[in-house]
């Protein structure tokens, strides 16, 4: 069945085949929401479960998340036409702050978030505070994730939060910070909502931030 082929392609991290099958499924007339939930998301969920058991590893999760993300990009425009919203756990905006170009941690957490049903808009690296504001206004996320690697660039996390307050949108989102030098004290002093020191904790923290919202 085509949908289960899509599931397998995602689970194998095969973006090329996934995209091909997704286009085919759209042409044949499968409902966009079905393609996402019964095809794409199912593949990533499968990998997520095997990862939790310890049978699969981070690289498997990242390639599967990438394959699903590529597939969803093809289907998304059709979703709005069909007028049925995708089931999502939450919406996240993620970026490494201005002056910092480290992104390996960010990319792993994004893959984990997507594997756990979050929609994530990746703003990339060296993201100025204004861009975070723009993205929040455009995407209306539940959570904004700020990544910074050093004691110098971590200061930008404070600048971003201050910018959100200036624009009166701080109260509309939860701010989750991360990076090698974050701590509870830092979270308190910059006015973030939480921090996570690894990808697995990030999922638990993100979910609990949504419950608290």
């Amino acid at each position: 069945m085509l949908l289960s082929d899509i599931t397998d392609a995602v689970a194998n991290g095969d973006s090329e085949t996934t995209n091909k099958l997704v286009e085919e499924a759209l042409e044949i007339g499968y409902k966009p929401i079905e393609i996402i939930e019964e095809g794409l998301a199912r593949g990533l969920r499968k990998v997520g479960q095997l990862f939790e058991k310890g049978d699969l590893f981070i690289p498997d999760l990242v390639v599967a998340a990438d394959a699903m993300h590529e597939g969803v990009k093809i289907v998304e425009p059709k979703l709005l036409e069909g007028n049925r919203k995708q089931k999502i756990v939450g919406k996240v905006i993620f970026g490494t702050v201005k002056g910092d170009i480290h992104d390996i941690g960010k990319n792993i957490v994004i893959a984990m978030l997507r594997a756990n049903g979050f929609i994530v808009h990746d703003l990339g690296v060296d993201v100025p505070p204004e861009k975070f504001v723009e993205a929040i206004n455009e995407w209306d996320p539940d959570i904004v994730c700020l990544s910074a690697m050093t004691t110098i660039t971590i200061l930008q996390q404070k600048v971003v939060i201050e910018k959100l307050e200036e624009n009166e949108i701080r109260k509309n989102v939860k701010v989750l910070v991360g990076g090698a030098v974050v701590s509870d004290d830092w979270v308190e002093s910059v006015g973030a909502d939480a921090y996570a020191s690894d990808a697995i904790t990030a999922i638990q923290v993100a979910k609990s931030l949504l419950e608290g919202a």
Binding site: P59, A180, S189
Partner: protein
């Protein structure tokens, strides 16, 4: 060199891109990429000095990288394992003072490296740190230039006040780190350029993470790391011929279950063996680092440090960082433990001498069959040099150990730290030097507070 030619490096500073372009590199201004030809790499590597020297304010405390001796240092940190509570907390100005004092005392620390003073509310945290470190050690030391080129310029001014005379051998060193894979950001290029201009000993660092920012295969990650270091050496030598550079690579893998760094891994030990060999081929001094993934002073931190110090020493790295390091933190107890681990590993590295004296045929004949060596002149003389004398490691038998209080390594290391901190006095720095340094720091601080709108390290971080 293949990668530098085919892929190139990202250069986020227009002046450096132009410099590379003028010297034969294929430069793409829009993409900010420079592809470096083999001939330029070879030229610059051959110009770079094969020896890098440093000197402390005590002129007897010298570092001579590249002569075949292995030196040791600590590591950067933003947290500290608190000596009283055993908990991790953000490092403070007091830790800068105390950790430097400890390292001034530890005989195996040649280049003290301080943690960050995260409680200082000032635009010149770097200068306060320089000031405190200089007061608390008479050894040469390593600094982090938070404000890039400006920090280095100020460090040079302060160095002149302390050393009172200009010398080719500097008091402090810095690191310029490439963001793997293959990307030099503006701040790192700033540090690299200013260090090269002033001939400050510069660690040119590549540190790809296997499976994350470098290929998961060790050989592949060494390709990325070497390309990064060589590109940094090219830039340094083009800016100032003969700029002292050190090849720094601390590569380790990503743990494939957690996505976190596996710094205390056997793969990291392999890198520690390979990097000195690569650097020797290039005739550049090498630096590797001993790391652990343990979150506390324990068995894991012991064996992982030993498993990374020993191969580094046997591979004759010119300098090995890591004394006291524990992830992003430093631990006082780990520092004294590592000091002893280094002793033990250096003893192994010293191997054995084989000559008439050590073969001891006459002694063997004299002691004969069934005799004992313990009372011989040979043993009395030779044991000092031949046998290591650990202070922390237990050599008591169980019953005696129990009678003496069943002291754990944890407890003993803690006591050693307390003893050193309460009794060790770093050699004094003259009052007039202290005053001049203080006025430089406070002067710069006033100037920057007036003019800079940028956030400073806040009191609470």
């Amino acid at each position: 060199m293949e990668i530098l030619k085919r892929v190139g490096v990202g250069i986020q500073d227009r002046r450096v891109l132009d410099l590379l372009g003028k010297n034969g590199c294929e430069v793409n201004i829009n993409e900010k990429v420079a592809k470096i030809p083999e001939s330029l790499v070879k030229d610059c590597v051959s110009i770079s000095p094969s020896k890098v020297n440093m000197v402390g304010r005590d002129k007897n405390k010298r570092i001579k990288l590249g002569i075949g001796k292995t030196y040791f240092a600590n590591q950067d940190a933003s947290f500290v394992e608190d000596i009283k509570t055993g908990k991790w907390r953000e490092s403070t100005k007091k830790d800068v003072v105390d950790f430097t004092k400890l390292n001034d005392a530890l005989e195996n620390v040649d280049l003290p490296i301080k943690p960050t003073a995260r409680d200082l509310d000032s635009p010149v945290v770097d200068l306060y740190e320089f000031f405190e470190v200089a007061k608390n050690t008479s050894k040469p030391f390593h600094m982090v230039p938070y404000r890039g080129a400006d920090s280095i310029r100020d460090f040079v001014v302060m160095e002149e006040v302390i050393m009172r005379e200009k010398s080719d051998d500097h008091l402090f060193s810095v690191v310029a780190c490439c963001a793997s894979p293959l990307l030099w950001d503006k701040w790192s290029l700033d540090v690299l350029s200013e260090s090269a201009k002033n001939k400050i000993p510069l660690y040119v660092a590549g540190q790809p993470v296997l499976g994350g920012t470098g290929p998961v295969t060790i050989a592949g990650t060494l390709v990325v790391g070497t390309a990064e270091v060589m590109s940094g050496v090219v830039i340094a030598e083009l800016i100032n011929r003969g700029a002292p550079v050190i090849y720094w690579d601390g590569a380790y893998p990503l743990d494939m279950r957690t996505g976190l760094s596996a710094t205390g891994s056997p793969e990291h030990s392999i890198v520690n063996i390979a990097v000195p060999q690569i650097a020797r081929y290039l005739k550049i001094p090498s630096c590797v680092i001993s790391l652990t993934d343990s979150c506390t002073f324990d068995v894991q931190s012991g064996y992982e440090k030993a498993l990374s110090f020993l191969p580094s020493i046997l591979s004759k790295a010119d300098i090995v960082w890591g004394i006291g390091g524990m992830g992003p933190s430093v631990s006082y107890t780990q520092a004294v433990m590592d000091n002893e681990i280094v002793d033990m590993c250096c003893r192994v590295g010293r191997w054995m001498e084989v000559d008439d004296y050590t073969l001891a045929l006459d002694v063997i004949e004299k002691v004969g069959i069934g005799g004992t060596y313990i009372g011989t002149k040979h043993t009395k003389e030779a044991h000092h040099r031949e046998l290591a004398k650990p202070r922390l490691s237990n050599r008591l038998q169980r019953a005696t150990w129990e009678k003496k209080g069943s002291k754990s390594m944890d407890w003993k290391a803690c006591e050693m730290v307390k003893e050193i901190l309460s009794t060790h006095e770093p050699s004094l720095i003259e009052k007039d030097v202290v005053e001049e340094l203080r006025s430089i720091v406070e002067g710069r601080e006033k100037l920057l507070i007036k003019s800079s709108p940028l956030p400073n390290p806040s009191k609470n971080i």
